[in-house]
């Protein structure tokens, strides 16, 4: 039987190497050996995803690679998560994320969600082409700490400002931070519409979220 360290390494390597089947096999063996699911997730899967993020930052990996790494991570998570002790999601910082109405380009948004989840945030993904009011409704219902919006199109970027205005109207703006990103978006645009921050890529988005929400 493999040791805990060996299995953790297989989980981590499986994520980095984008090998879903290897991750699934290692996750099952890990549970059968009686090791705690939490360590498997944090020291195996998340460790692998962090290594993938590092490779992305170093431009060794690209968007497509990280997406495939995350697929492998989620396969492992599906196996290990049911064995986690119940933890209230109230303890986690919650974010709402989506591509604004009118746009369906969601690769960047998915990457940001994955990176934020890996960093420990509880993310509610509304998907793509999201009606603007939905961001605000969800932020209210879920008591979210921040909202992330993206778009690749100039024709739809105005929707971000609408969401900020709706948050103000609902009296939520002071408690919900707003982060934006996407092809045509810039810091200047974020300043113009009154967003709290802009990030150019997924790694920067995690740093920005941590800074805005005072997470170490």
């Amino acid at each position: 039987m493999s040791s805990k360290e060996e299995l953790l390494k297989r989980l981590s390597d499986g994520v980095v190497d984008m090998e879903e089947d290897d991750v699934a096999e290692a996750a099952k063996e890990y549970l059968e050996a009686g090791y705690p699911a939490f360590d498997g997730i944090m020291e195996g899967l998340v460790d692998g995803m962090n290594r993938a993020s590092q490779l992305y930052e170093e431009e060794e990996y690209f968007v497509t690679d990280v997406l495939l790494c995350s697929d492998a991570m989620y396969v492992g998570l599906d196996i290990l998560r049911p064995y986690l002790p119940e933890v209230s999601s109230d303890d986690k910082i919650t974010g709402v994320i989506g591509v604004v109405e009118g746009d369906t380009h969601d690769i960047g948004k998915n990457l940001v969600r994955i990176m934020l989840e890996t960093a420990g945030f509880h993310m509610i993904d509304l998907g793509r082409d999201v009606p603007l009011a939905k961001f605000v409704e969800t932020a209210k219902e879920e008591n979210a700490d921040f909202v992330c919006m993206s778009t690749l199109m100039t024709t739809t970027m105005g929707g971000m400002e609408t969401v900020i205005r709706l948050l103000e109207e609902e009296g939520l703006r002071d408690k919900v931070k707003v982060m934006i990103g996407g092809g045509p978006i810039s810091q200047k645009y974020a300043d113009k519409i009154g967003a709290d921050g802009y990030s150019q890529n997924a790694v920067e988005a995690v740093k920005l979220a941590k800074r805005l929400l005072n997470v170490a």
Partner: protein, 289 residues
Amino acid sequence: MAEIKDFQCTYDNSAGINSEVTEGLGLTFPDAYLHWDTMAALSKALKSHDGAAFCELPFCHTVEAEAMGGIINYGNELAGPRAKEYICTSPEELLALPAIDFSAGRIHEVLLACRALKEEGEHVVLQVSGPFTILNVLIDAKYVFKAMRKKPELMKEVFEKLGGEILRFMEEAKKYGADLISYADSSGGLNILGPKMAEQVVEDFTCGFLAKAEALADDNTMILLCPKTTFAMLGTRKAHFRDLKLSGPMTYGEGCIEMIGKVRLAGQMCIKNVGYQLENAVFKEVVLE
């Protein structure tokens, strides 16, 4: 190792359909996106608003995918047609999709609009989408990237099938009078694929596809490339630029029109950058190796 540069899409160009453009046309949306006569009216209004040298069609990148079975949200005046839900999850399903019927549906209306504009004496830029853009409507990108890694031979077949459909669309566009056929696939750009996969796509698909597309150019038709595609070809040394002198400084669009019949393939600038000036009067032909 190839060194592909990325072309950054700028937005100093046509902002697309908006209320300023559509005011006074008496159009209702999304109905206006569905019929050749309203498409032609919109295209002319957009040309006039942007001060462009040509009319553009269509107004979205979903017609090819819709004609293959994709589900479209036609949108409204503020946001145009776009993908709704995906219909495939595997390359096998993509290969089973039907061939495009150019005599029916919205793609036929686009062709009819093209003919109507041509008959009114307009230069028409027909924009065709590349495989990644088409796939973006049909299937979640993660399945595409996964299949490119795990089932490369099958994905080659998918690209071949899509390439064939795109070429047939280009042939139809010629029949209906498009004098500039613009090919773009920004969903498969360097910033998304990364250098390795971008090079693989050039090798496996773009080279062969463009050789066939170039053969469609003639005295009345030129093929335009999105600069992202041009740079991918230049960076992998599969093409080079050849400079040609224009009659004088002019916009890129005017330059394209002047070079119809003299140049087969162009792509130094984004055709949507309607105000881009060729101040030194040099037009760059893309010559395939």
